[in-house]
Amino acid sequence: MSMTVVEKVLARATGSSRVEVGDVVAPSVDLAMSHENAALVINQFHEVFRGTGLTPKVWDSSRVAIVLDHRVPAESAKTATNQKKIREFVAKNGIEKFHDVRGDQGGICHQILPENGYVKPGFVVVGTDSHTTSHGALGSFAFGIGATEMASVWALGCVLNVEVPASIKINVTGSLGKGVTAKDLVLRVVGELSAKGANFRVIEYHGETIRNLSTSGRLVICNMAVEAGATAGIVPPDEETVRYLREETGAIVEEDLIHPDPDAVYARELEIDVSDLAPQIACPHRVDNVKDVTEVLGQSIDQVVVGSCTNGRLEDLSIVARTLRGKKLARNVRMLVFPASWKIYREALAEGYLSDLIEAGASIMNPGCGCCLGVHQGALGDGEVALSTTNRNFKGRMGNPNGEVFLCSPAVAAASALKGAIADPREMES
């Protein structure tokens, strides 16, 4: 049959036996997600229906998810009023997959979706957020769209005019060394491909290194696929996908998981051996400005951020807590920790990680992603430098065009927070 994973997903979603690169299709959507920008989508949605005499109603409320996470709790009257507008829309349309600012349901959208079992292998997932690509970790075709496009999805239940993208196959071999993680792998991929190297393509990950990654690690490598310009990242579903869904969400997925055909055609094939991969740093002000940590050792830092949809999971908090346990942050550093969901927050609390972090001097923040994009909690002062486990470091990203952001893994963030400057976690005593 010679199709890649995404080609197979699109064939299923359009009711065809096959699709080819370049075909223009209108796949039906299994899950449509928005966060605070649902307020914009609602505007555009009402515009679609203006003058038609029809009542605006989403095509299938069970397939719409809305998560408040960018400005939580609201920092201004305008945001609070937008959130109120969203609540009214949710109630009117009977949207159950709504995650408000509450400890028993809240968190960052790209953690909330997998955690609640909203994503299944083979799904078409769209979101009004670039990092919607995260959900390829569960074998879905997941990509970001604009607010107007989402209004169209809400009205019709499908994405119009999707050109079937070609795929880039990345085969990853070797074992990640001590102190080296999935974040370092994806930074390496972005550095190698560049910010436009995967434009209009899907990155399909293969190899023993990928098979051995937990779902948490797979979420990282799919999350940042967009930073190489990719439409999506995807990990073909396997036993780990089945295990994650069963243990985390209680969902039992069918065994009929999508695999690429042995003779599938790829636009490009890349081999990456991680055996000698050093921790990677994305330096200001581009995500593809990637260097080995050894090249930036000693760079002074003011604010360390652990969290976001990229690295706010229990695995990440565990690494940071273990590194900081019994020690203190350097005097010149402040550390902000944003667990990716309240569920993770509770788990970290039960494991004692939060006390370890607080005693070391970190500030534990409520789950949310405002800091990453400089709209809430944790702006930088003029001339300040942040070291962050988030996913973007464009000029002005963390709230100040006169600040700088270096991107890294949780292991590097922790080691550096102790030193007060960028440090190599491999040089720490275990």
Binding site: A39, I145, T148, A151, A155, P401
Partner: protein
């Protein structure tokens, strides 16, 4: 920026280039002026505001290549985009855009254009995704009313 409406955005166009921003806001740069850009124009966000700020001034963007989500958003919002991989132009040059090429009249050279795929042209011709979707919503409602299966 997540909750800023399209109408509220034009004053932010090229905000980090004070002079350009000022010229846009004062009207010194007229409607239908062209921005000529290099490759991967629009990279870095799924937010429509990047396209709506430019649409607010009725600018046309000619670029060597575009980032995916920006291009999609631009077409959806009715911002005119022209993919011209070899374009060369300096500030102040006069250019003419046709369906197949961009002519730089000042240096007397023309450059080929990669046309929009037919499906996207339909959206652009409808005036953007909202009118295009509205047509389909009405079609769907009509089919349901007269008992036909929706497509």
């Amino acid at each position: 920026m997540a909750t800023v409406l399209p109408e509220e955005t034009p004053q932010f166009a090229f905000a980090d280039d004070e002079e350009l921003n000022r010229k846009l806001r004062s009207g010194e740069i007229q409607k239908s002026s062209v921005i000529v850009a290099g490759s991967n124009f629009g990279s870095g966000s799924s937010r429509e505001q990047a396209a709506s700020t430019l649409r607010g001034y009725e600018l046309i963007v000619v670029a060597r290549s575009f980032a995916r989500i920006f291009l999609q958003n631009a077409i959806n919002l009715g911002l005119q985009t022209v993919e011209c991989p070899e374009i060369e132009a300096e500030l102040g040059h006069e250019i003419e855009i046709t369906p197949t090429e961009v002519v730089n009249k000042t240096i007397n050279r023309s450059f080929h254009v990669i046309p929009l795929p037919a499906s996207r042209r339909e959206v652009a011709e409808a005036g953007g995704l909202i009118p295009y979707t509205r047509q389909r919503v009405l079609q769907k409602a009509l089919h349901e009313t007269i008992g036909l299966e929706s497509k």
